[in-house]
């Protein structure tokens, strides 16, 4: 990660963030579920996931949320501050898929010094896994 931080003034409305590809592996799904203290069986037990009609274990929403937050702060740099994240899930992420995360600056609030990045995470098999908005405060100057 780049350790310098973007300033509020340097960000333009409509700016696109570089895409990030995430290999969705069983390791990432189980690791994310356990690191988020989520022991719901569908996130680590394939038979339990199949009993709910899915082919395999699937990523929990907290991991998706964490990846979305990371995606935006990777771009802003460390001195930015996350203010809010809204995540809506669509198609599940199951092992073997590749999720590509993309984002675009869709709002700037001069008074608050915050920008809103609209983020989409699309997997290569079923399409949109997550869509959301991340509000992040940026320093006025570096």
């Amino acid at each position: 990660m780049n350790r310098t931080t973007r300033t509020f003034g340097s960000v333009t409305l409509g700016e696109k963030l570089p895409p990030l590809k995430i290999d969705v592996t069983a390791g990432l799904i189980v690791g994310g579920a356990l690191a988020s203290r989520d022991f719901t069986p569908v996130h680590h037990d394939k038979a339990a996931a199949q009993a709910t009609g899915l082919p395999d274990i699937f990523m929990n929403i907290l991991t998706s949320n964490g990846l979305m937050g990371r995606y935006v702060t990777d771009w802003t740099g460390p001195e930015a501050a996350l203010k809010s994240i809204e995540v809506k899930l669509g198609a599940p992420n199951v092992p073997g898929m590749v999720m590509t995360i993309t984002g675009e600056v869709t709002a700037k609030d001069d008074a608050a010094g915050t920008v809103i990045v609209s983020v989409s995470g699309d997997n290569n098999v079923w399409g949109t896994h997550m869509a959301g908005k991340v509000c992040v405060a940026l320093p006025k100057e570096s």
Binding site: M1, R3, I22, L28, G31, G32, A35, S36, R37, D38, F39, T40, V42, K46, A47, Q50, A51, T52, G53, L54, P55, D56, N60, I61, L62, T63, N65, G66, L67, M68, G69, R70, T73, D74, P78, E79, A81, L82, K83, S84, I85, E86, V87, K88, L89, V94, P95, G96, M97, V98, T100, S120, D122, N123, N124, V125, W126, G127, T128, P139
Partner: protein, 325 residues
């Protein structure tokens, strides 16, 4: 369920709306470096404010902070509650148990809205105050018939100060019998999920020859044998002289953009993003719909010179693509 059973069930679950999950609860673990590092590792988050003490100390934060997306994690119940191993169940688990007992065995987190009011640091306590805010009307979803349960959690710290808020929506659903059967049937073979290919070209009596040439790496243009007029897409009769006799020539693949559009929503699995569809005016005179690739959408303009290449775009598909010349 019969209508009477459904209304009894709905009365039971609706009685939970507005109820607190229990008394305010301090997280099992206070904010700590180990859990922060585990989370940063798995999400691939290299933000030095989370894991690099030296960098964090020199930053505006003057020390390590927890990734804000961990807010709800500090309040998670952990293994015993999820496995039902614990003697006491909280109000939320009680509600979920009612859903399960009525066949709504599927569970899926579908939305979160999280606000961060203060960054958390190692040593902070996180106390959660959760209310079951809403249960939706019954819904038909892609996963099956079910209900959305929405909880609202207010988080405070050891000083009683507000640190954040989270709305969490969960779908409880009755898995559809067909999808369960389909997925259990394939579990033995462990069929790999296949990424979709492009929608395959429809090949009929009058156009299969054209697609077969594409498969061989050639872009052909149909030509009237009588008057020599070129035409595309392939069809049986010449529009100029009505002759049914035809042959073809191979295109030079040189041309320019006659018109174009960017398909931006929705994104299609199996298709590139951005997806640029061009109407290409070939040097020979006919026009062809094809993707414009090898440049950003902003660079494309009407009249742009392009050069085509017939190439494999996925396991099942060969197509002519046009690049900036």
């Amino acid at each position: 369920m019969t209508p009477a059973e459904t209304s009894a069930f709905e009365a039971k679950i609706r009685a939970y709306v507005g109820r607190e999950m229990g008394p305010p609860k301090r997280g099992n673990d206070d904010v700590n470096l180990a859990m922060i590092r585990h989370w940063a590792e798995v999400t691939g988050d290299e933000n030095p404010l989370y894991t690099d003490a030296e960098f964090a100390a020199a930053s505006s934060r003057k020390g390590i902070i927890a990734p804000p997306t961990m807010l709800g994690i500090w309040a998670m119940e952990g293994y015993p509650m999820a496995q039902g191993h614990t003697g006491k169940v909280d109000v939320q688990r009680e509600l979920h148990n009612i859903f399960e007992a009525h066949g709504f065995t599927g569970v899926l987190g579908t939305n979160t809205i999280t606000e961060f009011h203060r960054e958390l640091r190692p040593g902070d306590q996180v106390i959660s105050h959760t209310v079951i805010d809403n249960i939706s009307a019954p819904k038909k979803t892609a996963r099956g018939h079910g209900y959305f349960i929405e909880t609202v959690t207010r988080f405070t710290d050891q000083h009683g100060q507000d640190v954040g808020r989270q709305v969490f929506r969960t779908l409880r659903f009755m898995p559809s019998a067909e999808s369960v059967a389909a997925n259990q049937a394939q579990s033995g073979g462990d069929a790999k999920l296949k990424a979709p290919t492009r929608i395959q070209s429809p090949r009929g009596h009058d156009n299969a020859w054209w697609w077969e040439a594409i498969d061989q790496g050639k872009l052909l243009i149909q030509r009237c044998k009588r008057c020599g007029t070129l035409r595309h897409p392939p069809r049986p009769m010449c529009g100029e002289c009505q002759s049914l006799e035809w042959d073809s020539i191979e295109s030079s693949l040189e041309g320019e953009v006659y018109s174009y559009t960017e398909v931006s929503y929705p994104k299609f699995p199996g298709y590139p993003d951005p997806l640029l569809c061009g109407l290409i005016q070939l040097k020979e005179g006919t026009r062809l719909v094809a993707n414009i690739v090898g440049c950003v959408p902003e660079a494309v303009h009407v009249g742009m010179k392009v050069r085509g290449k017939v190439e494999r775009v996925d396991d099942a598909t060969v197509l002519p693509n046009f690049y900036p010349a």
